[in-house]
């Protein structure tokens, strides 16, 4: 491929390769292709790796000329998923075919039995006729159900019993008994000369049909990961030797320079080299406003370039991008177990051999104590118990719900680390919240400016002065001036007076900005502005006096503003039954002012970072189930100590790695979403477990014939087969109901989810 770096190896998947001879033939064929430096075949995974600058098509042609097949391997997550989906489709079609053929034989046979009642062998003609049907059924068992038998045999050799074991035993027993009736009817009492070929064929057909429906329903459970994968483009525009060429995304390498045009998605993580543009990062960070990107700014794969053309350098590609890490984390969490699954696991592990024993015991009871025809009853009970008792539904009950629940979380910007965290989040009764950056914006802003004269003029003077200062509050004032497009003036005689404020000359005027002590030190009467400053301080704001040429010109206040949605989120969390406690390193007055506005009753102020962990531990000692919400890095010890740590708004690699739950947007609504989601998921798991347990605990006695004294009928093995086939479908379908979960507050758009 001309657009490929000569150094990067190309991988091909081989077809028809089976021995060392094939390896030599292919390697030798590749040796003649210009540009191939090295070609190695891996017989184990049937792949070919070619080093050099040879074109992929030439390599494939060489392999084909040697008599084999080859296709280029593209290992991007999306392509793997597409391949997997294709495999699933093939498997689905295969199962449908098998079901169709088996039911094509089983249904007419069953209809014949129901309409005529002639399923017995009493003469030579019936022997011949049912013998032919028996051979047809055998063909169906081999073609449509052969995998059950080979699976059962392999598992048996490993001292293991699986679902295949039950199906093979059930259908095999029915067929063998029927053939015994056909071949030597005289060995059996008249009443037991009944054939069950229709049961064998129907069971195989129904179980294949059930599996087909399960495959289809399962495909929907991973929809969330697919949505994340869709954030990635398949191609990237790379600048090579001055030209811009489109190449598959998996061929992009670290250090490559890429062009991204307006309306295109950023293909990999990197930093801007040239150009300016607005980038919509909402799908990853949840920030609703596009972010301006210029030279040196970081870009994240999956985000959308809005209006400008950007040239950027690739820094993280493939599995290293943040999007890939998120996808990987979601996939890992989807496959993790929840503690509630332990019971089902224990039962699953011993279930199948236990069922085999129960089936034999039930069959013997019917044979020894049951009414005539005893042999027929024994066989029906044995087959029905074996078939109905498959624990598939039990095994699927928790993984399916976790898969959908975790995926649903990702759609709403809530990344759950594992199933355990998902379960623990349901039982939380206390939430401790870090103030700065969680309840507040985390960056001080100018909140008030009051003056007798023009406020913009005063702001321009103060911002000019503060532009020389390194104090954190100074930045808020300078930013406020920039937002109003005020141009700053030169400052002379600047002085920072420790614990008082700053002074300097701006446009020929002596400007002072600081606290009351500064005014007193300079002999300036604060007059009526004092009351105003006091009022601002009571609201948790840092108030300062501004003086120009020896007279107070006004007051300004700077504060870390409370997040717009914090109050609603706190109320929502309270409604969910959580007690909210605030943690902060700020002074008590500011903290209490914030708490008052948000309706938080418990405040821990003036804390050092290590104090936060201690508070969490103390609450736990008091019996509380504590969740901790913080920004994920400086709150790490407390997050780790809590029963569930919610890393808010960071979305950084560190937070994703360490927190139990990462919220991709800096909103406390994410915590409420996570709690609601976890409760919905656990409820769904409990429904599934209840259904599966009930199914097995009721299914076995019914199949064993406990209702016979009342109904005078035994459960048909065909009905048992249908029940087994559809039990898993029911569980998977119930799990899929979680896909319709929506948080009670429409905050998905706020915290990174779909709109």
């Amino acid at each position: 491929m001309s657009d490929k770096s000569p150094a990067s190896p190309q991988t091909f998947r081989l077809k028809g390769v089976s021995c060392a001879g094939c390896v030599k033939k292919i390697e030798s064929a590749l040796g003649d292709v210009p540009g191939v430096d090295d070609a190695r075949v891996n017989l184990g995974d049937k792949t070919l790796v070619v080093q050099g600058s040879a074109a992929a098509q030439d390599c494939i042609a060489a392999v084909e000329s040697a008599g084999y097949g080859a296709e280029e391997v593209r290992a991007s997550a999306r392509e793997l998923r597409e391949q997997q989906r294709e495999d699933e489709q093939n498997h689905y079609r295969q199962l449908l075919w098998r079901a169709g053929i088996a039911l094509g034989l089983g249904i007419p046979l069953m209809a014949w039995g129901l309409l005529t009642g002639e399923m017995g062998v009493h003469n030579t003609f019936q022997q011949m006729a049912w013998g032919s049907v028996g051979l047809l059924t055998l063909a169906v068992l081999i073609f449509c159900g052969g995998h059950f038998f080979t699976g059962a045999w392999r598992a048996f050799r490993h001292h293991s019993a699986t679902m295949d074991t039950l199906v093979a035993l059930g259908t095999g027993t029915a067929w063998l008994f029927s053939m015994l009736v056909v071949l030597v009817p005289q060995l059996l009492p008249e009443s037991a000369r009944h054939v069950y070929f229709e049961a064998s064929a129907m069971i195989i057909g129904l179980i294949n049909l059930g599996q087909a429906l399960e495959v289809r329903a399962r495909g929907r459970t991973s929809a969330a990961v697919e949505k994340l994968l869709q954030l990635q483009d398949a191609n990237a525009r790379v600048v090579r030797d001055g030209d811009e060429v489109d190449i598959p995304i998996e061929q992009v390498q670290v250090g490559d320079t890429l062009r991204v045009r307006p309306g295109e998605k950023i293909p990999v993580d990197g930093s801007v080299v040239e150009g300016e543009s607005l980038v919509d990062e909402s799908m990853l960070t949840g920030e609703p406003l596009p972010v301006k990107k210029a030279s040196g700014d970081a870009l994240t794969a999956g985000t959308l370039n809005k209006n400008g053309s950007l040239l950027f350098k690739a820094e993280k590609v493939g599995a290293d991008t943040r999007l890939s890490q998120i996808i990987q984390m979601v996939k890992n969490a989807q496959s993790s177990r929840v503690p509630i699954a332990r019971l089902a696991d224990t039962i699953s592990a011993i279930f199948v051999p236990s069922v085999m024993i129960i089936a034999v015991v039930a069959a013997l009871v019917w044979y020894n104590l049951g009414p005539d025809p005893k042999v027929a009853h024994m066989l029906v009970v044995l087959t029905s118990v074996l078939i109905i008792a498959c624990p598939c539904a039990l095994g699927l009950a928790t993984p399916m719900s976790v898969m959908v629940g975790v995926g649903k979380g990702a759609e709403n910007g809530v990344l759950v680390r594992n199933g355990k965290a998902l379960q623990q989040a349901t039982g939380l009764d206390t939430l401790v919240v870090d103030k700065t950056g969680t309840l507040t914006e985390g960056a001080p802003k100018l909140t008030d400016i009051e003056s007798d004269s023009d406020t913009d003029t005063l702001l321009q003077q103060l911002a000019s002065l503060e532009s020389r200062s390194e104090h954190p509050l100074a930045e808020a004032i300078v930013s406020a001036a920039k937002e109003k497009n005020l141009s700053l003036s030169e400052v002379t005689g600047f002085e920072a007076i420790t614990a008082h404020g700053v002074s300097g000359d701006v446009d020929g005027k002596k400007v002072l900005l600081g606290n009351r002590k500064l005014m007193q030190r300079e002999g300036i009467d604060s007059g009526r502005w004092h009351k105003q400053a006091e009022s601002l301080a009571e609201q948790g704001r840092t108030a300062m006096y501004a003086a120009v040429d020896g007279a107070v010109a006004g007051v300004i206040a700077v504060a870390d503003p409370i997040r717009k949605d914090a109050q609603a989120a706190v109320q929502r969390l309270k409604k969910l039954g959580l007690r909210i406690e605030m943690l902060t390193g700020d002074n008590k007055a500011t903290a209490e002012a914030v708490a008052r506005q948000l309706g938080i009753d418990h405040v821990h102020a003036d804390l050092l970072p290590e104090d936060k962990e201690k508070i969490v531990a103390d609450l736990q000692k008091g019996g509380a189930k504590v969740g901790m919400a913080g920004d994920g890095i400086n709150d790490a010890p407390a997050l780790a100590r809590a029963d569930v740590g919610f890393a808010i708004g960071a979305g950084t690699d560190v937070a994703i790695e360490s927190a139990d739950v990462t919220l991709m947007r800096s909103s406390l609504h994410g915590v409420a979403d996570a709690v609601e989601l976890s409760r919905a998921t656990l409820r769904n798991i409990k429904q599934n477990l209840f259904g599966a347990f009930i199914y097995n605990t009721l299914g076995i006695p019914i199949a064993a014939g406990v209702f016979y004294p009342i109904t005078g009928m035994l459960l048909s093995p065909v009905i048992a087969g249908a029940a087994m086939a559809f039990s898993s479908v029911t569980v998977v379908s119930n799990a899929n109901r979680l896909r319709f979960f929506n948080p009670s507050h429409n905050s998905s758009a706020d915290n990174g989810g779909k709109k």
Partner: protein, 122 residues
């Protein structure tokens, strides 16, 4: 006579089930396979083959799973004690990284516990 034969067959079937799936399975611990670069663990027909895999203690190891069984049961492999799991692609080799672990036996299985194996760390 027939009755006795059927009852004895039934009892023998129960005894065989208990012995083969529980007693003999527990005693069948001698056949474990060491991991090397070429070792592939086949996922097929309800079993992992080999199903007893030996790795060194305190070292990260990569296991190669080849899933040949398209049935949904075989889709995931879980090592619950090691908090490792992986989705296995059909007809593909999937690398599963096992973190350094202390000596001991760690079961692994599919999500339905039908496919089962043991990782022996020693």
């Amino acid at each position: 006579m027939t009755s006795l034969l059927i009852n004895l067959s039934g009892l023998a079937a129960i005894a065989l089930t208990v012995w083969w799936f529980w007693l003999a399975a527990k005693g069948n611990k001698q056949q474990s396979v060491s991991v090397d670069e070429k070792l592939e663990i086949q996922v097929k027909d309800g079993v992992y083959e080999p199903d007893r895999i030996r790795v060194s203690a305190g070292e990260e190891t990569v296991l190669h799973f080849r899933r040949e069984d398209a049935s949904p049961c075989a889709e995931w492999v879980l090592f619950p004690d090691l908090e490792v799991s992986a989705q296995l692609g059909v007809d593909q080799i999937t690398e599963v990284t096992i973190p350094a672990a202390d000596a001991g036996e760690y079961p692994f299985h599919c999500q339905m516990q039908m496919y089962r194996g043991t990782l022996i760390v020693g």
